[in-house]
């Protein structure tokens, strides 16, 4: 990014939060509610079914992300909420009022487009003033020549300019007001798009992959700013992204979409640690979860040579048969790396033989690729502390045959179709300990 305006230090940031409090009607904030409900929304383009009976309730002031692979219908759903696309079936309710036939401008929503959709022929100030001009001036006062004669134009102009300046100041773009979009950097355009959405004082803020055109560093910064904006404005946010990390870090709740349906909606951690579906487990979490085949027989889970007792929850549909085993990369704990002498080990969990292939250095952590014994066809990823894979001296063990352990409580089971098989909570406290905690214990033991 050649320009550096957005990286410039802003000492007042903390003191004055980016609250864009409604310039036009400050007193109204208390009574503006924006609960958004989608009720069995269906949409097809020709023969392609894009959305299948989507139902979703978003509370006032909530930040909900729609996340999913490209082409799963996220943008279409957002455009239906905005009113840019009409659903084939189902209802959209804002605060309990059906808005299916309401024009976008009357839905009280604002939208930030992926490529910002700024008007290239207008200055930043004109771009941001556009929603206000449309809302406050009658048609004759918006016509090119006639507006000069219009008293409405003269009456509203100062107010519009004031409101634009106010939002511009809060977004730190007041020095850009006279520029055209072509003269701005990507990050600055982003801010202008936010500003144009904010001036109109919306109830619901829709964003379609607003960060995807920014470079990685700027993305982190704007991500935080959007979160601050959400916190300070108290508006309802619906945020579309294909990036699960964005969704996980920013949202109150994440709705994971796949092939036109919402597979699961819940708090980020619920999707991560308690996925309903193997597709959810695969999509959420980076590096991706390891999925291995296994069989349940006589109350035991068999995978390769290993057999572990498993207690399926009473409501579980199947009691035996082929299953998919989900192992999060950080739940496989490096246990015995030859040549590295670990201090006191707490050897809980099931020991598994592991053959190392490659190691990726992620900085603080490493990602070890290899295979588990009994699963020669499935590459497995293990996320570990760097010190667990490298010796104290920073030298990498040359031997390839390692040993890892997995706590049975961390095993996620899915049936052949991908649905989660609920298991009974483990009864031993020791087994329920999270891996991180055990690691902590180990480190304490090492220090002592």
């Amino acid at each position: 990014m050649p320009r550096s305006d957005h990286q410039a230090p802003r000492p007042n940031r903390q003191a004055a939060p980016t609250a864009v409090c409604r310039p036009s009607c400050p007193g109204l904030r208390e009574i503006i509610m924006a609960k958004l409900s989608l009720n069995k929304i269906g949409k097809s383009f020709g023969k392609t079914v894009v959305l299948k009976d989507i139902s979703l309730d978003i509370e006032d002031g909530e930040f909900v992300s729609l996340v999913g692979q490209s082409g799963c219908g996220k943008s279409t759903l957002l455009r239906i909420i905005a009113g840019l696309e009409a659903p084939d079936s189902g209802d959209i309710l804002i605060d309990g009022v059906r808005v299916n036939d309401t024009a976008p401008k009357h839905r009280n929503i604002a939208m930030v487009f992926q490529d910002y959709a700024l008007y290239p022929h207008m200055s930043v100030a004109e771009n941001m003033a556009m929603p206000l001009i449309m809302a406050r001036l009658p048609l004759h006062a918006r016509l090119p020549l006639a507006r000069r004669l219009s008293p409405a134009h003269r009456r509203h102009k100062p107010g519009i300019q004031r409101d634009v300046a106010e939002v511009a100041r809060k977004l730190h773009i007041e020095h850009l007001l006279d520029r055209r979009p072509a003269q701005l950097s990507g990050g600055q355009r982003q801010r202008v798009a936010l500003g144009r959405a904010l001036v109109r004082d919306p109830k619901i803020f829709l964003m379609d992959e607003p960060l995807s055109n920014l470079d990685a560093k700027l993305r982190m910064q704007v991500r935080r700013e959007i979160c601050e904006l959400h916190a300070s404005s108290g508006l309802t946010f619906v945020y579309v992204t294909h990036d699960q990390i964005e969704a996980m870090t920013m949202s109150d709740r994440v709705a994971l979409m796949h092939g036109g349906s919402i597979l699961q909606i819940g708090a980020p951690n619920a999707l991560y640690s308690d996925p309903d579906n193997v597709d959810v487990a695969r999509f959420i979490g980076s590096p991706e979860i390891n999925i291995l085949p296994g069989v349940i027989e006589n109350g035991a889970l068999r995978a390769g040579d290993i057999s572990v007792p498993v207690r399926l929850a009473p409501g579980c549909k199947i009691r035996s048969g082929a299953v998919q085993i989900g192992l999060r990369p950080e739940h496989l704990v490096l246990e015995k790396v030859p040549e590295l002498a670990y201090p006191a080990r707490i050897g809980t969990g099931i020991p598994l033989a592991f053959r190392k292939h490659t190691i990726e250095d992620l900085g603080a952590e490493v990602l070890v690729h290899g295979r588990l014994a009994g699963h020669p066809d499935h590459e497995v990823r293990i996320r570990a502390q760097k010190s667990d894979a490298y010796g104290a001296g920073g030298t990498l063990a040359s031997a390839k045959d390692w040993e890892v352990r997995i706590n049975p409580a961390h095993i996620l089971l899915f049936d052949a179709t991908g649905s989660r098989l609920p298991t009974e909570p483990a009864n031993s406290d020791r087994e329920a300990e999270p891996a991180a905690m055990r690691r902590g214990l180990r480190q304490q033991a090492g220090l002592a």
């Binding site: 840019l84 024009a103 008007y119 290239p120 022929h121 556009m130 918006r142």
Partner: protein, 297 residues
């Protein structure tokens, strides 16, 4: 480029000149030389019928100032342009917008409107002159069947320029429409969506806030090419009206043609042609300088 001058650089420079030489020569031969010849001829009283000619200085140009024919041709040309230009611009823009919004039939309509562009105007002029004939023409048949008196489209001094403008319009709207369509297609749809959310969903607002400003470069191109077409009016005049009735359709280029090839005043005709080129150049320049700054972002 040639600021650093080693032997290699100089060789390269020489080579570059050799490489552009053929194209340069062609341009000089085809465009510049004729203009120079015409300019030279315009300073003489050369006629096509005699080899003898004298150098007369700027007499031919002085003659224009007093020549009633010149004034008449200029007047007719501007009246024609005034009738033809706005219609050629607005009608094709409206058609383009209407067709653009159509999903079915779009390509059929495009072809139908573009057909006149592919035909030879000279041949079509004969067809039009038959259609607009004051006695047997189909158009007058329609006019009389509607209960009006027949109109002398090509024979009346008041109507002839309007009729010619209509024929030219017919022959050019397809072309302009395709240009506008290309311009419209290039406007990102999400601008209209942003406008709809911002409240600009009224057709007038959509046009004024998005379509028209985004169409700027196309509109300028269409305006310039159409203006030049208007000033270049010749074929239909030469074939249908021959400048008549009573010189009411004698336009600039037709006068230049008459002076040169009917009255054999090659010198004067050359002067007229040169002034014509300068006028068009000036016109395009003014448009480019004044409009270009407003349409590119």
């Amino acid at each position: 480029m040639a600021t650093t001058s080693g032997p290699l650089q100089r060789a390269q420079t020489r080579l570059a000149y050799w490489l552009v030489a053929p194209a340069t020569l062609l341009i000089l031969l085809i465009y510049v030389l004729p203009i120079i010849v015409v300019f030279a001829a315009s300073l003489t009283d050369y006629t096509l019928v005699s080899d003898y000619y004298e150098f007369v200085g700027l007499d031919n140009y002085r003659k224009m100032a007093t020549d009633a024919q010149f004034g008449n041709a200029l007047h007719n040309t501007f009246v024609f342009a005034l009738l033809f230009l706005p219609a050629a611009f607005v009608v094709s823009l409206v058609l383009a917008i209407a067709i653009q919004e159509r999903k079915r039939f779009r390509s059929i309509l495009e072809i139908v409107y573009f057909l006149p562009v592919t035909s030879t105007l000279a041949a079509m002029a004969l067809v039009w002159s038959a259609l607009l004939d004051s006695r047997q023409g189909i158009v007058n048949g329609i006019v009389t069947s509607l209960g009006f008196a027949p109109l002398n489209f090509l024979g009346s001094e008041d109507l002839v320029l309007i009729s010619l403008a209509a024929i030219s319009l017919w022959s050019i709207i397809g072309f302009n429409m395709v240009l506008f369509l290309a311009g419209l297609t290039a406007i990102p749809t999400n601008l209209y969506e942003a406008a709809a959310i911002d409240g600009a969903d009224h057709p007038i607002d959509k046009f004024l806030k998005v379509t028209w400003p985004m169409l700027g470069p196309t509109a300028m191109f269409v305006a310039i090419t159409t203006s030049i077409t208007a000033f270049k009016l010749f074929d239909t005049v030469a074939i249908i009206t021959r400048g008549g009735p009573d010189k009411a359709s004698e336009v600039y280029l037709y006068l230049a043609f008459l002076e040169g090839f009917e009255y054999f005043n090659m010198g004067y005709s050359s002067a007229l042609s040169l002034v014509f080129i300068l006028l068009i150049l000036l016109f395009a320049l003014v448009q480019a300088v004044f409009v270009d700054r407003r349409v590119h972002y």
